[in-house]
Each structure stands twice: as structure tokens, then as C-alpha cells.
């Protein structure tokens, strides 16, 4: 008894995590037309850094700030010095360079931290459970969910209430026009790319203690995040929210009901959406 609400909550938590990862992926795609294959590697780096920062400082809350900041800088460097240089050669080259970055990060992670799972051990309040209407649920999972909601709200505020947000949304529509209106688009690209990396890294930090931290974690979430942005519609944040919820719940209940089929279910859902709406739920019609 109580299984269904628990799995429902698990689904929400995973949806929050997925949204943190896929929002950056979809924004970068919407603006730059680049599918950033290194995006999930940033997520993994977030988890690994957090492991080390936690070991050194003993403060998990510090990881929540330091690691995304570090990935923000790393992301901006990758955009400015790698992506921008190959931009003139076209999308295939851009895709390849993000693949290269992902590869380098994955191999470096194995080299530095080892090719085995690491456990992140929390202490104190976050390790407990709370009583939710008679249902004991881990505090940490709730904490993850609230982090995701909190960040999504801030992101929505910035995107819809500030000039910077308007510029980003306009760039998803038509970068050339934004440029012709006097906005330094390359700088916007660098910042958004860095911001996406930071969000992904943040997701990695909060995922670390729950899911294991290991070199395959990037590839694992990349597949889900990719399905999310395809279902939601490439470039659409609203779509990413809805699709994250769908995939989060599908994964969670899939694991409960048809453990062997949950991946297949996800692809079936994606195929079904694409048959009905080729550009995704909220994607712009071609």
C-alpha cells in the first residue's frame, strides 16, 4: 500500500532533475542550432566535483554554489574557444566538437576519480524522512524537487520579466534579427551556453547523493534529456517542463510496472508524439 503515491513522487523528483538538464540543452539548441552532446558531461562533472568539494569541505551546501559556478565558467570557455571557432564550418563540425568535449570529460573523470561508482554521503537533516500525510518520504528527494522548482521559477522570472530574458527568447526565434537590432549575439551565446552548463552541473550536484556517481551517468541522462527536448519541441522551455514530467513519471511507473520495458516505453512515447506532432508538443511548426 502507498506504492502509487511514492512512485508518483519519485517521478516528480526525476522530472525536476530532467528539467534542469534538458532546459539548458533545449535553449542552446533553440538559439545556436547545436545539439550539445557535452551537456550531460557537464552534469556528470557537477556530481564529481561535488563529491570532491564535499570531501574537502564537508559542506554539501557549498557544493550547490561552487560546482555550478565552476561549470558556468567551463561552459563559457568551451563555447568561446571551441564552439565559436568551428561555427563557420557548420553544424556537423559543431556537433563533433561537443562530442569531443564529452569524450574528453568522460575519460578525464575516469582518470581522476576512477572507473567505479562513488557514494556521496550526506549527514544531518537531509538524510531523514518526513511524514507526508501518513507516508514516510525521504527528505533528500523532496529537497531535490524543491531545488528544481526553485531554479525553474527563477529561470521563468528572468526569461519573462527581464530584458536579458527577452533577448534570449528572441534569439530562439531569430538570432540574425536580434543581431541586426544591435545585440551582441556572440556574447549572448557564450552566456547562455555557460548558464546551461551551470544548470546541468547543478543537477549533477543534487543527483550525486541519490543516484550513483559513475562515469556512465552522463550517457544515461543524455538519452532521457534528448527524448525530453524532442517530445517537448526543440527550443521550447514550456515543452521541456511538460515532457520532463511525462518522462519522469513514465520512468518511475515503468520501473514499477514493467521493469524490463521502461526504456522501450519511453521510445514508444516519443514515436507517438512525433507521429502526431513532428515538431514536438510545443515546437514551432516548420
Amino acid at each position: 500500500m502507498g506504492e502509487i503515491p511514492v512512485f508518483f513522487l519519485h517521478g516528480l523528483v526525476y522530472a525536476g532533475l530532467l528539467f534542469l538538464v534538458s532546459s539548458g540543452l533545449t535553449l542552446v539548441f533553440g538559439m545556436m542550432n547545436v545539439l550539445n552532446l557535452a551537456h550531460a558531461a557537464f552534469y556528470m562533472l557537477g556530481a564529481y566535483f561535488s563529491y570532491s568539494v564535499l570531501n574537502i569541505t564537508g559542506h554539501f551546501y557549498l557544493c550547490l554554489i561552487i560546482c555550478p559556478l565552476f561549470l558556468f565558467i567551463l561552459g563559457m570557455l568551451v563555447e568561446r574557444f571551441l564552439l565559436r571557432r568551428v561555427h563557420v564550418y557548420g553544424h556537423v563540425q559543431e556537433l563533433l566538437i561537443t562530442f569531443g568535449v564529452a569524450y574528453i570529460i568522460t575519460e578525464s573523470v575516469k582518470w581522476i576519480w576512477g572507473n567505479y561508482p562513488l557514494g556521496v554521503n550526506l549527514s544531518g537533516f537531509l538524510t531523514g524522512s518526513v511524514n507526508l500525510f501518513g507516508l514516510f518520504y525521504p527528505v533528500y528527494r523532496l529537497f531535490m524537487f524543491f531545488c528544481a522548482v526553485f531554479i525553474s521559477l527563477i529561470m521563468a522570472m528572468v526569461l519573462y520579466k527581464t530584458k536579458i530574458g527577452i533577448i534570449v527568447r528572441a534569439s530562439v526565434d531569430d538570432t540574425e534579427m536580434v543581431n541586426a537590432l544591435g545585440v551582441n549575439v556572440p556574447v549572448v551565446f557564450t552566456a547562455v551556453f555557460g548558464f546551461g552548463a551551470a544548470l546541468s552541473g547543478f543537477a549533477g550536484v543534487i543527483a550525486g547523493p541519490l543516484l550513483t556517481t559513475y562515469p556512465g551517468m552522463a550517457a544515461e541522462i543524455l538519452v532521457d534529456a534528448f527524448v525530453v527536448i524532442v517530445i517537448g519541441g526543440m527550443g521550447s522551455l514550456g515543452g521541456a517542463i511538460v515532457a520532463s514530467l511525462m518522462i519522469g513519471e513514465l520512468q518511475s511507473f515503468g520501473a514499477l510496472l514493467f521493469p524490463k520495458l521502461s526504456l522501450a516505453l519511453m521510445y514508444m512515447l516519443m514515436a507517438a508524439v512525433l507521429i502526431i506532432r513532428p515538431s514536438g508538443l510545443f515546437g514551432e511548426e516548420q
Binding site: 527577452i166 527568447r169 528572441a170 526565434d173 531569430d174 543581431n179 541586426a180 544591435g182 514551432e284
Partner: protein
């Protein structure tokens, strides 16, 4: 002289589109560039705003060469660009589209025209205010065209480059758009307009260029254009 285009050659990849185009625009003037489909009119505007970089020649705006600068830098010197197909931001509201026109940081200084603000735009073009909360995608063609012009005005340009503003609009709406451009001209902004339909353009523009196959074949005022019947027959739609 506000804008002087000198012998520019522009390419898409390897195809040579502009073969030594020259033109000039004086302060306060509305100049119209005419020509058939595919002769290089849009390419000329794109070369000025920097979307395409001419491989030869120079483009002087207020005496400074624009060639090699990025579009955003050129826009900040005081040039507004209104492309063909309108290109409003579809997922932004009318109001947000207008906000996008404000140039961050360095706006052109020494603007002779009046300074535009969002209130002033709404006062001058009340139709836009009625639609302020609507998404760009939900505006009619005429409203979208007005919005692109107004959006450019928000950056207080000294010169507006506008590409086929009346294309695909019903005659009455097209007239509204041209009236709007006249208002803009009166406010002190100079305009370089690309058009196919010289009969509509002749009512608002002062001087004309006719282009064919990437070269200019005619330059003159409205009267000269009306007199040059052969040239009109050869180079314009009948």
C-alpha cells in the same frame, strides 16, 4: 552624405551576386531601390547591415566604413534593418518585440530626428497599442509590418533599411504601411526602401535606383523614372 555605397561586390559562397553596386543617401531622404526578382536588392541591404560582408568596395555611413563589422555593431552606429518576410519575433508579444528594438548600451548619438520611446510609438501607431499583449505570431500581416518598423524605431536609427514592406499586403494595408514610412521620414529618419512596385513607391520616395543582375542601371527622381519608359519596361515588372 549619410550613406555612401562604393562599388561593392557581394557573394553567397562562390556565387557572385553584386557586381560593383554604388549608391548614396542624403540626410532626410527616402530612396527606393527597384528591380525584378532575384536581381540582388535584398543582398544590397544585407551588405549594408553586415549580414553579408562585401568582398570588395566600401560602405561609408557618416564617413565611417562599415565593411567587416558585425550587424550588431553596424546597428549601433544608427542603422535600422527591416528585412523581407517581416521577421517579427513570433513567440514574443508586441510589447516585447518593441523592447527588443531598444539598443543596449551605445545608441547612436547626434540623432537629428526625434527620439522615439515606447509611449510615443503607441501614440503614433495606436493599432500597436491595441495589440500590445498579443504574440507576434497572432498579428495580421499589416500589423506585423508596422511592428517591425516600430521595433526598429525604438533604437532611434538615423537610417532605416526596409525590404519590400508592402509585399503580400492588401492595397489598403499597403497604403497604411507607406503612410507610416512617410511619418517616419518626417520625423527626420532617412530611409532606403526596396520595392517591386514603383507606382506605390513613387508617392513616397524622392529618388530611385533600378537594379538588374547585381548592377545599378538607373538613378533619378520620380519624374526621371516616369520619363524613362524603356528602362522601366526592361528592368521592372509591367
Amino acid at each position: 552624405m549619410l550613406l555612401q555605397v562604393n562599388e561593392i561586390h557581394s557573394y553567397y559562397e562562390k556565387s557572385h551576386i553584386l557586381h560593383g553596386v554604388s549608391m548614396r543617401i542624403e540626410q532626410g531622404e527616402m530612396v527606393c531601390l527597384l528591380g525584378r526578382n532575384g536581381v540582388g536588392k535584398s543582398t544590397t541591404l544585407k551588405s549594408v547591415i553586415g549580414i553579408i560582408e562585401p568582398k570588395q568596395g566600401s560602405i561609408l555611413f557618416k564617413g565611417k566604413d562599415l565593411v567587416g563589422k558585425a550587424p550588431y555593431q553596424i546597428a549601433r552606429t544608427g542603422i535600422g534593418y527591416v528585412p523581407e518576410d517581416r521577421r517579427i519575433f513570433k513567440s514574443l508579444t508586441t510589447h516585447e518585440n518593441l523592447l527588443m528594438g531598444i539598443k543596449g548600451g551605445k545608441t547612436a548619438k547626434g540623432n537629428l530626428g526625434q527620439a522615439w520611446s515606447i509611449e510615443k510609438i503607441y501614440r503614433a501607431f495606436p493599432k500597436l497599442e491595441e495589440r500590445r499583449g498579443n504574440k507576434g505570431a497572432h498579428l495580421s500581416g499589416g500589423e506585423q509590418q508596422m511592428l517591425t518598423v516600430a521595433r526598429t524605431l525604438m533604437g532611434n536609427p538615423e537610417l532605416i533599411l526596409i525590404d519590400e514592406p508592402t509585399e503580400g499586403l492588401a492595397p489598403l494595408i499597403a497604403k497604411d504601411v507607406l503612410d507610416m514610412l512617410s511619418k517616419v521620414l518626417e520625423s527626420g529618419v532617412s530611409i532606403l526602401m526596396v520595392e517591386q512596385n514603383y507606382k506605390a513607391a513613387i508617392k513616397v520616395a524622392g529618388r530611385f535606383y533600378i537594379m538588374s543582375k547585381g548592377q545599378i542601371f538607373f538613378e533619378g527622381d520620380g519624374r526621371a523614372l516616369m520619363e524613362a519608359e524603356d528602362i522601366r519596361k526592361n528592368y521592372l515588372e509591367v
